[in-house]
């Protein structure tokens, strides 16, 4: 298993032999994962198996013990700080709870990365912020509200708008639809699909939402036993014999989608 395949050209994120642990506890052991350019990869796994840890390790927020992470073919460890900053402009992150800056309005939140990295006129900055707000389906009057005045769904949308501020190539979504009502979640899925098509995004999505997995994910990766237990299309996942995956996709909640058993 330790024989690692070389990372190919059309891979946006390549992870090889990743080990992450806290103290005595090893969370991820020799994890390999490829995210292809332009795909929507859904990432599933039981609570506490380290889905968020993997995302955070790729983003550099959690130190790794061993392994290599390549983004667009560049090894993150080999990058100089300047190059790392340039790379950070090419990804956007939607944190689970939005992580909007509470002291700034939605518009200012979206403009933070623009102000930091771009030399553009205030007019264009305002227009682009308004455009992103509209693209994620927020009303224009949300622009000048503070995060504490927004509902959960609006916070997710505003956070997505901020993640898209610099037109990134990759977006990381950490449970984008959790806490949304089914209609809002479906809209959010559609939104991500539309944006992915129009902007050519690569989407790395940690989710528990079976509907999202069925409707917008090109491939699904499942985390179990500290590594990626299986990766493939939804059909391949349904056919997979791994016990956790069977429980996940053929359990009570998964049953409705199971073509073999009717309804779905």
């Amino acid at each position: 298993m330790n024989q690692t395949a070389p990372i190919k050209q059309d891979i946006a994120i390549g992870v090889r032999g990743l080990v992450v642990g806290f103290g005595e506890k090893i969370i991820l052991q020799n994890l390999d994962l490829d995210v292809r350019r332009g795909e929507v990869l859904g990432f599933v796994g039981g609570s506490g198996t380290g889905k968020s840890v993997l995302t955070r390790a790729v983003l550099g927020l959690v130190p790794k013990r061993a392994g290599a992470i390549e983004v667009f073919g560049r090894d993150l460890d080999a990058l100089r700080p300047q190059e790392h900053r340039a790379l950070e402009q090419r990804w956007g992150v939607l944190f689970q709870h939005g992580a909007l800056f509470s002291g700034l309005t939605v518009r200012q939140n979206i403009q933070v990365p623009m102000r930091e990295y771009l030399d553009i006129s205030p007019r264009l900055m305002d227009e682009l912020a308004s455009l992103k707000i509209e693209m994620v389906g927020l009303k224009p009057d949300a622009a000048d509200k503070f995060p504490s005045e927004l509902s959960g769904g609006m916070i997710k949308r505003a956070a997505l708008a901020r993640a898209l501020a610099l037109d990134p190539d990759i977006v990381f979504l950490d449970e984008p639809t959790s806490g949304l009502d089914p209609i809002g979640a479906a809209e959010f899925d559609e939104l991500i699909a539309t944006l992915q098509k129009t902007l050519g995004l690569t989407v790395f999505m940690v989710t528990h939402d079976l509907d999202s997995l069925y409707s917008i994910c090109d491939r699904i990766a499942a985390l179990a036993d500290r590594k990626v237990a299986a990766i493939g299309t939804i059909e391949e996942m349904l056919a997979c014999e791994h016990p956790w995956l069977r429980a996940y996709f053929h359990g009570k909640r998964g049953r409705q989608f199971d073509p073999a058993r009717g309804r779905g």
Partner: protein, 376 residues
């Protein structure tokens, strides 16, 4: 990857054709400049055909800028059209097509009006603070009476925990600052009184000043900063995460559960700390007068016994519970006033400390006047 956004214009009479090329993305530094130059070039034309075939890459910002040019032409009564757009670029141009956004402009009133409005607002808030404080005191007193009627509902564990936290854990710092201030007062007293040949009166000065005013004041200020801020932050973050609401829906009264134990703990801890502060400061005075003035401990104690009476000590001690009450009320009230954001929490903690220290000093002044009036 760095192909600047370009355009080539070919004019045929009043109609023009523009061929765009390069990368029209926001990461390209010149994208806005190119768009502006393009808009200027096509300004006079009534019909423009925009050829998108040569574009390598485009993002929402690029699409927005290109479409803004097109919209400008249309607004002036001209005609503009796209051609040769790749399907994905066409979708993007549709998605990020130009439209007018109403972006509110900040209105700046006159400085004088703003200043007056600020003064008025601050005054109103100050009065509202007083009213809120009094109302809150009433609620707390009512809760205390309820607890007296139902003593089993009193949170004894929480009370002991807070006494330890506010009292026991503050011992070292309270003893240290009072000791140091005792030293400083003694040293200055000695040096200033020496000029009148009355250096032994430094002992009187230390005894009276420390017992009546300094120890209780310093201890209260220290506790307002140390424990008051902690109370506000604790209750404030509970308020932020809806824990207070959770208590309420479980039928528990947040004032009974959170405020009363902290208030009583401070009421116990602050007088004890003040007593410790008295002793530490007098000890500091003793050490300093011995070192600088050659006044030995026996002489110091003898003079001290003549200089002070029980009432000197009591004046300081009587004030301590009132200080505790004010600090506890202000810090819990400010904690309850926290709203959703982290910024609000920070603001309330600051307000809590500033108001507590201010009120401690005001109360000390009022007591000074009161004791002078009754000649105590």
């Amino acid at each position: 990857m760095s192909a600047e956004p370009t355009f080539a214009v070919a004019a045929a009479g009043l109609s023009m054709s523009v061929a765009l090329g390069g990368r029209w993305t926001i990461a390209q530094a010149g994208v806005e400049r190119s768009a502006r130059a393009l808009a200027k070039q096509v300004a006079g034309s009534s019909s423009v055909a925009i050829d998108l075939g040569g574009i390598d890459a485009i993002d929402t910002a690029g699409a927005w800028l290109i479409d803004r040019c097109r919209a400008d032409i249309v607004k002036r009564g001209g005609a503009a059209s796209y051609s040769n757009a790749r399907p994905e670029h066409a979708i993007l141009l549709e998605e990020a097509h130009w439209r007018e956004f109403a972006i509110p402009k900040h209105a700046f009133g006159s400085v004088l009006v703003n200043l007056l409005a600020d003064v008025g607002r601050t005054l109103t808030f100050a009065f509202r603070d007083v009213a809120a404080g009094v109302a809150f005191l009433g609620e707390v007193v009512a809760a205390v009476f309820r607890l007296i009627l139902h003593p089993r509902r009193f949170r004894f564990t929480s009370f002991v925990y807070h006494v330890e936290n506010f009292g026991f854990r503050s011992l070292p710092i309270i003893a240290l600052i009072n000791f140091l201030v005792g030293c400083i007062v003694a040293q200055q007293g000695l040096f200033q009184l020496k000029r009148f040949g009355a250096s032994t009166f430094a002992v009187d000065l230390i005894g009276i000043l420390v017992l009546r005013e300094l120890a209780v004041l310093l201890t209260s200020i220290m506790i307002a900063g140390r424990s008051g801020s902690a109370i506000t932050a604790e209750i404030g973050s509970m308020k932020m995460r809806e824990e207070i609401d959770a208590l309420r829906v479980m039928g528990l009264d947040p004032i009974e559960v959170l405020v009363v134990p902290r208030l009583l703990a401070l009421l116990i801890a602050l007088p004890l700390l003040t007593f410790l502060g008295d002793m530490a400061a007098i000890f500091g005075g003793l050490v300093t007068t011995w070192y600088y003035g050659g006044i030995g401990p026996e002489i110091f104690m003898g003079r001290l016994r003549d200089a002070i009476a029980l009432n000197t000590f009591l004046v300081g001690m009587i004030k301590a519970p009132f200080m505790a009450l004010v600090i506890a009320l202000i810090s819990t009230l400010e904690g309850m006033a926290v709203e959703g954001s982290a910024e609000s929490l920070g603001r309330q903690v600051t307000a809590s400390v500033v108001k507590s220290i201010f009120m401690v000093i005001v109360i000390d002044g009022l007591f000074a006047m009161f004791f002078a009036a009754i000649d105590y």
